[in-house]
Symmetry: C2
Subunit: 447 residues, 2 copies
């Protein structure tokens, strides 16, 4: 699809490498970690999405001649850096939380080990992908949790950047959405796509009956008719008549959906269209979906609030150097590093991560620490998967696996996780030191 | 850059055309309009960005063989539609608000005239571009207004989708940002790029002095040193010493910036580094920029809040059929159309739009209406530019023109527009009927 992802990169990544090449530190072995210091305000869990996209983007992260010419011309790079970039190919190792896994404050979503130079310049691309995709997946998961067995349809493409829309459809599908309106997501990722008609289609025709006949002729009786262009009662009645009661569904896109869905259900039943479904679509979010639990609704179409993360359009993931070689020697041991500035805690050293799960199958803690993971209860689930080994991508999986992982990981959460009110993370993050003792918990809820 | 933009499209756009092809209505001449019913809550004006990107995307909106094969395989299109799509090339006319222009509730940002089929299927792509780009430009404009003559640097790429980031850099530049961290925005759009180093660069080195020496050697004394990795006072003092007082700038990325900037300024001055600038970058938005007016700050780096629209990540633009041919006859006259559902007002008929400006140069109203624009005061500015004529793109312009347009259009706003508190649109939208009489104002502030 895209020629290169190499310039989806902040200017400073390259100036850092330029300076490090000059001073001889560029190839110190380094470990970077991608994590969030906290969840968006009041959220009880987060959902990882983006891992598969990161692997695709990594494969296309190459500095071709045109790219290097641009960088030279604008003095972003010098000769040494240009030569190094021309051969760039990530040769290190990456571990990460797979798509669909849950995350909590401090979870090391991705761990990148390689030379400083090769790991540093991936920062922007990795953060862009995870910060957006996981924001959408985290919102989507709350929506599908509230929808229960009723399907949710992603239809937010028109409300976000055109390529973000494709990523959003993928993220929503991982978090349990049934389908998407976005055709490119169908092509690129195999997300099922769906859609029938907008108000313009009805307005194009001389009468609503002309429009409905046209749609039924093209798409069959099983289609969904949009019934709120003029008068809902008349439109529903017409749709049932034209299909002899076999209409697939009606869509309501305005009004007080709780009342209206009940009225329409009674009307459909009275007309004998007991199998005709009701799809609602107007400015829904997880709160409105929850409020409509009591309504006779068969599916939800969600747009704006989904693709904007329902109030949290970015996850606040950061990418920090947590460890680097003690010296420029090839075999120098790794040294944990962390900056000291106010309110921006990070923990030096390369992490393990596991989800502690009770014997009855309920998640109890996110356990992270330095060194090797403790031998714990057999229910503990290791969270980091080896995705890239010596530069070779080994972590690809079908999207269905991510979707199943999300469903099973979410099912392990304690019930408080599904309160829609603002709260604290559903499980605590526990940090262990190298001896396996709990040292401190920088991510405890405040109060 | 991209092979085709044709599948950045909602499934229902194609099923509508499929049905309309079947019923013979697909080629009725139609007018669609892209507009916002309201500004984001409390905002006083909006800024259009996306026009230039829409023209680029339109040029790449082609259904190649692979694309059509996908659509056939998934039964999105039938034979007739596949044949029509293979030859698709927009052949109609488009008028629009150019990049950098301001908008208000009801402003017809874009007017698309062509057959129903050819205009309908552009809906998703146009809305995706305008909804995101204008959200960023609208936030950016408030930030640069508060920053005054101090430059703002866009550095939000890491907080939004990787391609949205490129669009955001462009939108921010239009709205007065001086530069961006995003290299692809530099290549694609000529946005000036900037950047020096992150905390990881300091942590990579054995000492802060090693890091600073390395950066100064590579980037010169005029560079910006990040001084809050360990101790700000020590770092500032070191940076001044190493450059004999000729350090370009220091960057502060944490702490209480108002106090800290004052302390650092005094320190720099006491060390003789009176020309060394102070750049601040931690979680800034328009409110924080305003609060820092009193601080001795020389530039602002803005990330998260910019690329997420500072609380309004989408503009709520919609794309509505406002007029279509009365019948399937080739020369049938246009008929205004509008749907009737609750709370989703639209006005049928093709619009003109102009900004009414007082003799002293202050914007007074957004005047829109059906038919020809009235012959008003010579200060009135027509807002719609002819962008595409008979399918030919005629509306391209350099990005600098958009940037200048934004600056001069914003300078015409009444001073209330620059209050950061929530309020009503700075000017009212006035709707005129075909005789030029004010008919109604559906966009009046509530209360």
């Amino acid at each position: 699809m895209l020629q290169t992802t190499a310039l989806l990169t902040d200017h400073y990544e390259l100036t850092m490498v330029r300076a490090a090449l000059g001073s001889g530190t560029a190839f110190r072995r380094s470990v970077f970690e991608l994590f969030a210091r906290r969840l968006p305000e009041g959220r009880r869990y987060g959902v990882v999405a983006g891992t598969g996209r990161v692997l695709d983007a990594l494969e296309n992260f190459r500095f071709d001649e045109e790219t290097i010419a641009f960088l030279r011309e604008h003095d972003v790079v010098n000769d040494d850096l240009a030569t190094w970039l021309a051969d760039y190919r990530f040769s290190g190792d990456i571990w990460g939380y797979p798509d669909g896994e849950l995350y909590f404050p401090g979870s090391p979503i991705m761990v990148v080990e390689g030379s400083f130079a090769e790991a540093c310049i991936l920062e922007t691309l990795l953060l862009s992908i995870y910060n957006y995709d996981s924001a959408v997946a985290s919102a989507a998961s709350r929506m599908t949790a509230m929808a229960g067995h009723r399907p949710c349809i992603e239809m937010g493409s028109r409300r976000t950047n055109e390529w973000a829309a494709v990523a959003a459809a993928r993220a929503a599908y991982i978090a349990g959405f049934a389908s998407s309106s976005n055709l490119e997501a169908g092509r690129l990722y195999g997300v099922p796509t769906a859609g029938t008609a907008a108000h313009s289609f009805t307005l194009l025709h001389d009468t609503e009956e002309d429009a409905f006949r046209s749609q039924l002729a093209a798409l069959g009786n099983d289609t969904t008719l949009l019934v709120d262009t003029y008068d809902v009662t008349a439109a529903v009645t017409l749709g049932v008549e034209l299909t002899q009661g076999r209409l697939g569904a009606v869509r309501l896109d305005s009004g007080d959906l709780l009342t209206l869905a009940g009225d329409v259900r009674r009307l459909l039943d009275s007309l004998g269209a007991v199998n005709t479904k009701i799809i609602v679509t107007s400015d829904l979010d997880e709160y409105q979906i929850a409020a409509l639990r009591a309504a006779p609704v068969n599916g939800y179409g969600v747009g704006t609030s989904l693709v904007t993360g329902s109030g949290a359009p970015t996850c606040g993931f950061v990418y920090k150097l947590v460890s680097r070689a003690e010296s420029d020697q090839a075999e120098a041991p790794l040294l944990p590093v962390a900056k000291k500035s106010t309110n921006k805690t990070s923990i030096g050293g390369r992490k393990f991560a596991l989800r502690r799960v009770s014997p009855s199958g309920i998640a109890e803690a996110e356990v992270i620490g330095i060194g090797a993971a403790p031998r714990g209860d057999s229910n503990d689930r290791p969270l980091l998967q080896h995705l890239v080994s010596g530069g070779e991508i080994i972590g690809r999986e079908p999207l269905s696996a991510a979707r199943e992982r999300h469903a099973s990981a979410r099912a392990q959460l304690p019930s408080e996780a599904f309160k829609m009110s603002k709260g604290y993370p559903a499980i605590l993050t526990t940090v262990l030191d190298a001896e396996g003792e709990q040292t401190f918990n920088p991510y405890a809820p405040q109060g």
